[in-house]
Symmetry: C2
Subunit: 305 residues, 2 copies
């Protein structure tokens, strides 16, 4: 049994973060853009989806918060103690697909999970999350900036975090069937329990800081790239590469599968899918082109710092 | 042990069918279109992929034959007798994505599978296959023609086949996460073993006949629809609906997953994916429009005859 229960504080934090991220993206877009849809989960809980598409800068973006609870879903039964009777999960998911192929797609997610017994006492609890970048054209300074911003925040809390979470991210966002990284990574972590690497309040504080590092990690990059010129061939390349993003999310992503199997709202889960995608047969860029360079970079994880 | 071994005859049949289907599609397209790529599977066997895209009629089409063999892959170990040492599988897959949204997408697949012991004696063998139709705009007479053509051939061999295989198809091509049929069905069957519903030669003969029924089932439909006028909004709707096709193939299709897990060639497996696809948030056609009608039809299987 744990007395530490950051549920309400974390939920309020991510609702605030949702607002901050949307405002920040609307500032870039130059107009109020996001619509909010709320939804209920029949078995308990629901969510607030903020979606925008068709912008000059943001071809599609989603900033979703969900808070779900109820009996342990089948998909989790093997992973929780036998005394477990119910669960509570809340999290924020951010996916940004810029229109300009020079600007990378990004994804971030921060979540908190509780396993409860029949008295609603906490049997287990953990935080998870991460942020990663998927460029279509590689600007090394963007990759470095993104990683450095996340590393700086990690380092303030635990020197082991960045190296560990960076590798975790590279392993997670891997399209096994293509033997290709989804993007140039970032950080990924799961099952961070209070009292393990960090004590209760320190852990909670780390989560707030790393989630708050997402905007300074990404916003300068999209600002730098959103007005660059690009050709229709470069746009085409972006649309082909977005296919790999769909393949990862539908074939491999545990978050997507968790959402689908626990009665999450389809339209909110699939806000992560890019707006326009192409599948063409056997696309093979010529050697030493920028497109070929992107593929080379994605063959194996790289140290960006 | 079985003396009945149609492996070579079936393989020759599907190579001939591949040629016939491509010629028939090229005639519709009005030009020679398909390119052939052959590929080797490191563990044994390989394939011949015929692909065409960017046509006036055929936005993307693939007609693939593969013949693979070797040690039992992990994904199959639970499903074969303990004496099983190797497998042999050969099949043809056809996927046609027309440009005109009034013309339906179609898919067909016919395959033969052997499980062999250490003496290369056949421990088990079966045929599988099917053909189905995915319209974006429903023409009831197209659905009826497709089903009737398949039923007529089924009925000549076994009166139970069409009713059984029609239901099997409806159950298989179902997007559980959307609670929506992928299309208006057709037939689907698997594990048809010689000596069960049909004796050896009769079964082999049925497979040739039903595979040969695919062209007369589909070609009249595409000819009827390929020159109809359509608006950019109707094209847009087709691209949105193609997203459901991708979702089915990546989330649910056993054939896709079997291919990926047994070292099939990615670019050949993914020839099934549509050329241009859109994911938009919460697309909801107005009541009583043609788009709404398509969604209504896909809510539950229907008897088309």
């Amino acid at each position: 049994m744990h007395n530490f229960n950051p549920r309400i504080r974390f939920f309020e934090f991510i609702r605030d973060l949702q607002e901050t991220v949307c405002k920040s993206l609307e500032e870039i877009e130059g107009s109020e853009s996001f619509i909010e849809d709320s939804w209920d989960r029949p078995e308990g809980g629901g969510g607030w989806s903020r979606i925008f598409s068709g912008g000059a800068v943001l071809e599609k973006a989603g900033v979703n918060v969900s808070e779900v609870h109820g009996p342990i879903p089948d998909i989790l039964k093997d992973q929780v103690p036998s005394a477990a009777k119910s669960f509570y999960a809340t999290g924020i998911s951010i996916v940004i697909h810029p229109r300009n192929p020079m600007a990378p797609t990004t994804h971030a997610n921060f979540r908190y999970f509780q396993v409860l017994d029949s008295n609603d006492d906490i049997l287990d609890q953990w935080f998870g999350g991460g942020a990663d970048l998927t460029p279509y054209y590689l600007f090394e300074e963007d990759a470095s900036h993104f990683h450095r911003t996340l590393k700086t925040t990690c380092d303030e809390h635990n020197q082991d975090f960045y190296p560990k979470f960076k590798v975790w991210c590279d392993k997670y966002f891997y399209n096994t069937h293509r033997q290709e990284q989804r993007g140039i990574g970032g950080i990924f972590f799961d099952h961070l329990r209070p009292g393990e690497e960090l004590q209760e309040t320190e852990l909670e504080n780390f989560i707030y800081k790393i989630a708050s590092a997402f905007l300074p990690a990404y916003i300068p990059i999209i600002k730098q790239r959103m007005n660059l010129n690009y050709s229709s061939a470069q746009k085409h390349w972006q649309e082909v590469r977005r296919g790999r993003y769909v393949e990862f999310n539908l074939l491999h992503d545990r978050g997507t599968i968790f959402g689908l199997k626990t009665g999450g709202r389809i339209e909110s889960i699939f806000m992560s899918l890019p707006p326009i995608v192409r599948w063409e047969y056997n696309v093979s860029p010529k050697k030493n082109t920028a497109e070929w360079n992107t593929l080379e970079i994605l063959k194996k994880p790289k140290n960006w710092l």
